[in-house]
C-alpha cells in the first residue's frame, strides 16, 4: 500500500534534503566552534611560542631575521664545542683579539699585545665594558681561563690552553688551578707565561674558550651560567635579550660595546632554529630570513629564482681515515696505496657530491691557510695525484702477497648519518667493488655511536672531517701526531711526531712551514689518509644586507660587520 500517495523514491529524496539541511546547520556550528577553539589555542600558542618572526630585513627597525641550524646546548664560553654555540658566542662576546671583516686578527679587548718566547703580555683598553656597564678587566680573563682549565669544569676544549705554563698538569689533576701561568697584574694588564714557545698564541687567543667571564656575575648564577639569556653577561657587539630554547633568540645591539666599527644592526632576530634545509629555503623564498645556505639539490631552484649566489670556504677538510692499528688489514701500506690510486677526489666532488662550493682536496692542509708569506699551498704545493687503475691493482696484488691472503676480507666503512657522508660512502662502496673487487660494508651509526667505535678502533675506514680551531696550519698539521686524541686511526710515525714538535715549538716561521711541508708529503707517501674534499657553502643573501660573511676560522656565519643598505647597485 502506498502511503500518502508519494512514491518511495521521492520520500527518500525528501529525507536526504532535510537531513542535508540539518547537516549544513551542524556544519556551521562546527565551523564556528572550530574558529573559537583555534582562537583560544592561538592565544595559548602565543604564550609558548617564539615571537621572533618578522621580515627577513626590517629596514625601519634596522633589524634582520635569521635562522640557526641547531640550538646551542649552552652558551658557556669555557665549555662550548659546537658550531651553533660558536656562532652565538662570536656575536655576544669578544676576546682579547678579534677578527676583522677580512678575517685578519685585529685588537679586541686588548688594544695591544706582545708575544715573546717565554710568554705574552696584553694591554686591555679602557672602554671595553660588559652589558651591565662594568668595565672588562684582566681579572675576567684570568678567572675564565682558570675555570676552563679546571678539571672540575670538564671543558672539552681545555687542551687549547696547553701552551700556557702548568695548563696540562692542572687539567690532568696534578696541580691546582691557581698555578696556571696567567696573572692579572692590574685591571688592564694581563701577563701570560708559556710552557713552551708559542708564536701563534695570538691566533689561539681569538678562540671562544679564551673569552672572558666575570667572577662575581658567575658566582651569582649559582651553577646556571650559560643556561639562559639572563644567566650571562655580554661584552660583544650584541647581547642576547631573549632565548626561547630550540625556538628562537633575540640579539640586541650592546650599548656598552666600545667598537663602532662592528655591530651595525640594532637587532638580530634568530626566529627559526631548524636543521631542515628545505624549510630554510622556503623561508628565504618567502622573505622571512635574510640569508640561507644552499645544498646542491637546491641550486637549480636558486638559479631559476635569479638569486645572487655566493660561495665561501668553510675551512673543514674531509678525508678517509684508515685504521692503522696493528692486525688491521688497513695497516698495510700497499693496500692503502691501492685504494688511493683507484679513486680521484675530483670525481667524488664533481660526479657524486655535486656541490659547487666543495673543492677536491689534495692535502691535509686546505688551500687558504697561510704559509710563510703567501698561502701555504702556493709555497709548498700538494703532491700531485693521478688516478691510475693499473698501479692500484698492482699494489693490491702486493698487498695480498704481503698479507698472505687470497682475497682481501670485507672492509667496514664507518659513517655517520649526515647525508653527505652517506652519499660518499655509497659512492666509495660501488667504486671499490667495481675497480678493485673489494667488498666494503657500510656501518651507519649515529654520531655518538660512531665516535665510540672510532675510539675503540672498531672500523677499517671511516670518513672524517676536521675544522680549524685557529688560523694556523698547526691545527691541521698536528692531527696525526701519535699523542693526539683526535687521531682515532692511531697512526703513529716518529717522523710525523718530530715534525709536529718542531711546528709547535719553533719560533722560525720558515722552519715551521718546512715541517708542515714534510708532513704534507709524508701523509701522501704513507697514505695516512685519502683526501676527499674541502667543504664550502653556496649561499644566498638578501641583496639589501651587506657585509655578511661566512668564515673558515671562527663562526660559520658572521653578522658582526653586516648592515642594511637599500640603495641598489
Amino acid at each position: 500500500m502506498i502511503e500518502n500517495g508519494t512514491p518511495i523514491a521521492d520520500r527518500n529524496d525528501n529525507f536526504t534534503r532535510s537531513a542535508g539541511k540539518q547537516l549544513a546547520v551542524y556544519a556551521l556550528y562546527a565551523v564556528v566552534t572550530l574558529a573559537v577553539v583555534v582562537y583560544l589555542l592561538a592565544i595559548a600558542a602565543g604564550q609558548t611560542g617564539s615571537n621572533g618572526a618578522d621580515m627577513g630585513i626590517n629596514v625601519a627597525n634596522n633589524s634582520i631575521t635569521i635562522a640557526l641550524r641547531e640550538e646551542p646546548p649552552q652558551l658557556d664560553t669555557g665549555r662550548s664545542t659546537d658550531g651553533a654555540s660558536i656562532i652565538v658566542l662570536s656575536h655576544a662576546f669578544e676576546g682579547l683579539i678579534a677578527y676583522d671583516e677580512e678575517a685578519q686578527l685585529t685588537p679586541g679587548v686588548a688594544e695591544r699585545w706582545e708575544i715573546r718566547t717565554d710568554g705574552a703580555t696584553f694591554w686591555l683598553r679602557e672602554d671595553a665594558r660588559w652589558s651591565d656597564g662594568q668595565p672588562v678587566t684582566a681579572h675576567d680573563f684570568e678567572f675564565a681561563w682558570k675555570r676552563a682549565i679546571d678539571p672540575a669544569t670538564a671543558s672539552e676544549y681545555s687542551f687549547i690552553f696547553y701552551s700556557i705554563k702548568n695548563a696540562e698538569a692542572i687539567n690532568t689533576g696534578r696541580l691546582p688551578k691557581e698555578t696556571l701561568g696567567v696573572r692579572a697584574v692590574n685591571d688592564r694588564l694581563l701577563e701570560v707565561e708559556f710552557e713552551q714557545a708559542t708564536p701563534y698564541f695570538d691566533k689561539l687567543v681569538a678562540f671562544v674558550t679564551y673569552f672572558p667571564v666575570r667572577e662575581d656575575f658567575y658566582e651569582s648564577t649559582d651553577g646556571r651560567y650559560g643556561a639562559d639569556a639572563d644567566e650571562l653577561l655580554y661584552n660583544g657587539p650584541y647581547m642576547i635579550t631573549e632565548w626561547v630554547h630550540s625556538a628562537s633568540m633575540i640579539w640586541k645591539k650592546n650599548p656598552y660595546y666600545w667598537n663602532d666599527k662592528r655591530g651595525f644592526l640594532d637587532e638580530i632576530r634568530v626566529a627559526y632554529i631548524t636543521a631542515d634545509t628545505n624549510a630554510k629555503l622556503n623561508l628565504f623564498k618567502d622573505g622571512q630570513i635574510a640569508d640561507t645556505h644552499l645544498e646542491s639539490p637546491m641550486l637549480p631552484s636558486a638559479m631559476a629564482a635569479r638569486w645572487q649566489i655566493d660561495r665561501a670556504m668553510d675551512g673543514t677538510v674531509f678525508f678517509v681515515v684508515f685504521n692503522h692499528r696493528p692486525g688491521r688489514v688497513t695497516d698495510n701500506l700497499n693496500l692503502r696505496k691501492a685504494m688511493l690510486y683507484a679513486q680521484d677526489p675530483v670525481e667524488l666532488v664533481n660526479k657524486a657530491l655535486k656541490d659547487a662550493a666543495f673543492l677536491p682536496a689534495a692535502s691535509l692542509f686546505p688551500v687558504w691557510v697561510g704559509g710563510v708569506k703567501e698561502k701555504f699551498r702556493e709555497e709548498y704545493p700538494a703532491p700531485k695525484h693521478q688516478m691510475d687503475l693499473e698501479k692500484a691493482r698492482h699494489h693490491l696484488e702486493l698487498a695480498k702477497q704481503e698479507l698472505g691472503l687470497a682475497a682481501i676480507p670485507p672492509l667496514v666503512l664507518l659513517v655517520d648519518a649526515q647525508p653527505v657522508s652517506q652519499l660518499a660512502a655509497t659512492y666509495y662502496q660501488e667504486l671499490y667493488r667495481q675497480r678493485l673487487g673489494l667488498e666494503i660494508r657500510i656501518d651507519s651509526q649515529i654520531f655518538k655511536q660512531r665516535l665510540a667505535k672510532m675510539t675503540a678502533g672498531d672500523f677499517d675506514i671511516t670518513v672524517a672531517g676536521w675544522s680549524p680551531d685557529y688560523d694556523d696550519a698547526l691545527t691541521y698539521g698536528e692531527f696525526f701526531a701519535s699523542w693526539n686524541l683526535q687521531n682515532r686511526g692511531r697512526y703513529a710515525s716518529a717522523d710525523m711526531d718530530a715534525d709536529v714538535r718542531i711546528a709547535q715549538t719553533s719560533l722560525d716561521q720558515k722552519e715551521r712551514m718546512d715541517a708542515f711541508g714534510r708532513i704534507q708529503q709524508l701523509v701522501h707517501d704513507d697514505v695516512t689518509m685519502i683526501p676527499m674534499y674541502e667543504r664550502g657553502w653556496s649561499f644566498v643573501v638578501d641583496p639589501r644586507l651587506k657585509g655578511f660573511r661566512r668564515r673558515s676560522v671562527g663562526p660559520e656565519i658572521d653578522y658582526n660587520y653586516a648592515y642594511i643598505d637599500v640603495s641598489s647597485d
Binding site: V38, G49, N51, A53, P151, E156, G223, D276, Q288, F447
Partner: protein, 310 residues
Amino acid sequence: MLWYIGKRLIQGLITVWFIATATFFAMHNVPGDPLLNERATTPTIRANLEAKYGLDQPVTTQYFIYLKNIVRGDFGISFAQENRQVNDIIREHFPVSAILGVLAVIIAAVGGILWGSLTALYRNRLPDYLIMFLVILGISVPSFVIAAISQLGIVTLNNLAGTTVLPVAGWGTIFHMLVPALVLGLSTMAYLTRLMRSSMLEIVNSDFVRTAKSKGVPPARIFARHQLRNAVLPVITVLGPSIAAITTGGFVVEIVFAIPGLGRFFVEAVQQLDYTVIMGTTVFYGTFLVFMVILVDVIYGFIDPRVRMS
C-alpha cells in the same frame, strides 16, 4: 562509576611503571657512549662527566635512582643540552606539540564526522565520489610527502598573492598552526570519514531508524537524534588511540615546519644519544597516552550506558 574510574587509574599507574621500566632497560642496551664528543676527552674529564650524570653506578642502582626520581617528577639533566633540566625541556615544548595535536584531532574529528555523514547521506552521488577520492589520497600518500608538498604550496600561494598569506614555518600565531595541524590530522580525518560513513550506513538499515521513519518523525530529527548520535560512537572510541597516534607522530610535521615541539626534540635527542631526554620524553608521552585513553573511555562510559554495565 567512581569505582570504574578508580580501577582504571590504578591500572594506569601500573602501566606507567611498566613503560618506565621498559624504557630504562631499552636505553641501557643501546650501544654507544653518551659522553663522547667530537673533541676527545682526557680520562680525568671523563670521570668528572660520569660522576656528574651518575653513570658510574651499577645498573640496578641506576634503575632505582631513576624510579625514585620519576616519582618525584624529576627526569634529570639533559646530556646534550647541559644546564637544562629535562623537566624544563618537556615543560617548554610539550605544550606546543599538545596544541598542535589538539587542533589536529579536532580538525580530524569534526572533518571526519562531517564528511562521513555527507558521503553516507549522498551515497553514490557526486559528493560521495569527491570526498572518497580525497579520502583515498589522505590514507595512501605518506605524511612526509604531504608535508613537503603543502609547504611548497604555501610558498607558491605567497608568491602569487605577492604577500605573506600564510607563514612558511615557525610557531606563534593562528596562521602558523593552520596548515601543520591540517597536514597532521589529514590521515586521521580520512580514516574517521570512512569509519563514520560505514557506521552511518549500518545505522540507516537498523530497526530503530526504520521505526522512527514509519512513525513519521521529521527527517531532520531522525538524522540528528538517531543516526548521527549513534554513528558518532565508534568514532569516539577510536579518538583515544588517534590522539595517541597524532601526538607522537607529529615529529615529521614539526621538523618540516620548524615547530619547536617535543616530538622534534625527541628525534634530535635520539640522534645525539641524549639518555635522559629520551627516557624522560618516552615516559612522559607514555603516561600522557595512558591517561588520555582512560579519559576517553570514561567519557565514552558517560555517553554509552552499555559500556558502564559491562
